[in-house]
């Protein structure tokens, strides 16, 4: 029980095994950006409100500013860099579902999880999930349209 504030962590990120030294109190967001150079996840409010830092942990959307990196040891982490041209990314482009783009990675990660986990999501479910993210440019209409298009495409695939 010696006092060790930093540890070497082995994280599974975007299908790769990555080793990083981090404080035990470091958030996943901080380690992804500063330790691993994955700057797609954005620091916004750092308070769990805006969703710009959303990543997937074992397929579940998580606000990475509110999770410790050390908690994710043994889990699969997916960031926006690991999506690799998912249908929701193309739908965002087609619908021009962004203006400044700062919130986009978080919205895309959350929407990707929704599509994967609830391909038959109804309007209430879509709204409930999208309420986790904030777009200060107010591109909400376009974002919702992109999500609905990607959901429809997923249903065709199934």
């Amino acid at each position: 029980m010696e006092k060790i504030t930093k540890r070497e962590l082995v994280l599974h990120v975007n299908g790769e095994r990555r080793t990083v030294t981090a404080r035990q109190a470091d958030t996943l967001l901080f380690v992804l950006r500063s330790g691993l150079g994955l700057t797609g996840s954005k620091p916004g409010c750092l308070n769990g409100d805006c969703g710009a830092c959303t990543v997937l942990v074992d397929g579940m959307p998580i606000k990475s500013c509110m999770m410790l990196a050390i908690e994710t040891v043994g889990k699969e982490i997916t960031t926006i860099e690991g999506l690799g041209g998912a249908p929701i990314q193309h739908a965002f482009v087609r619908h021009f579902a962004f203006q400044c783009g700062y919130c986009t990675p978080g919205f895309i990660m959350n929407a990707h999880a929704l599509i994967e986990r609830h391909p038959n999501a109804d309007q209430a479910t879509i709204q409930e999930w999208l309420e986790s993210n904030i777009c200060r440019c107010t591109s909400y209409q376009e974002i919702e349209a992109a999500v609905k298009e990607a959901l429809e495409a997923k249903k065709v695939d199934i």
Binding site: M1, I4, A25, M66, E131, S132
Partner: protein, 278 residues
């Protein structure tokens, strides 16, 4: 970003967790039990929480139990709110959980964390208070189990080194007629102006509240007025509201008078819905 260092521990059993807590405390190391961690991380950043060690209870099997097969519904304290929502073993608790924070945050927020949080709304407590759930607690003196109504006075009264392991609800109570409504100043995400959870057991309406005072409450006085069927509905509601504990919150989210007005309206809705289900 947490602006100070702490050590992180992830015990695999209750005994290991409690032993660890005792050892750390004996060394003078301030320690917190850790569930979803959302509140500890956000309040640490703001300087409202500090700790030298955290003990994560999410790897303890008993804290992850979701057993709906017997006469008692058993819910582990480390279940996330979305896990509770998706399994939906207790519809009133599901409704309370679904209104906490937002969907993504609820993937992390745990039942035990919401019950024990420093942020005082603790809205899942309302469903447990009206259902008179039991709370299983582990600590340096072993296990104890108590009715939440005996343990929850503004907040859950836990001793040094204790943590919530499970919540138990009688299966016969989880399907009782109920009412849940949360009113915010605006929008669909955020803290309440008023939240009411009510449950009808026999002829008695149980009601618990958050957002009105700087603590959640269920009050025998309030319920006595609410259940006094010798009076007109409007009188029952007004006397119940007059019996609310004090202080009434009065802040930028809403004045005290406005919160009481909203509470009265919601109680009218609750009585209408619950008495129609008689």
């Amino acid at each position: 970003m947490v602006p100070f260092d702490f050590a992180y521990y992830r015990p695999q059993s209750i005994v290991e967790a409690v032993t660890l807590f005792i050892e750390l405390e004996q060394k003078g190391i301030q320690t917190l039990y850790y569930g979803g961690g959302t509140e500890i991380i956000t309040l640490s950043r703001l300087g409202f929480v500090s700790t030298a060690a955290v003990i994560d209870i999410k790897a303890i099997p008993e804290c992850r139990t979701l057993d709906a097969d017997s006469d008692l519904l058993v819910l582990g304290a480390a279940l996330s709110l979305t896990e509770l929502e998706e399994a939906n073993p207790f519809p009133l608790l599901t409704k309370a959980a679904k209104e906490v924070a937002d969907r993504t945050a609820r993937n992390q927020i745990t039942l035990g964390g919401n019950l024990c949080g420093k942020i005082f709304y603790r809205e899942t407590a309302l469903a447990l208070l009206v259902a008179e759930a039991d709370i299983v607690i582990a600590g340096p003196n072993g296990f104890r189990q108590s009715r939440i109504n005996d343990l929850f006075h503004q907040q859950l009264q836990l001793g040094r080194g204790e943590f919530v392991v499970q919540v138990k609800v009688r299966r016969s109570d989880v399907e009782l007629p109920h009412f849940h409504r949360k009113r915010r100043k605006q929008g669909e995400v955020g803290y309440p102006l008023v939240t009411i959870a009510a449950l009808k057991k026999g002829e008695a309406i149980h009601a618990a509240f958050s957002g009105i005072c700087p603590f959640p409450f269920r009050s025998a006085d309030v319920e006595a007025h609410l259940n006094d069927r010798s009076r007109l509905t409007a009188e029952r509601i007004q006397t119940a509201v007059n019996a609310f504990p004090r202080p009434i919150l009065h802040d930028i989210e809403g004045s005290a008078d406005y919160r009481l007005f909203v509470a009265a309206q919601l109680l009218e809705d609750a009585l209408r819905e619950l008495e129609e289900t008689m």
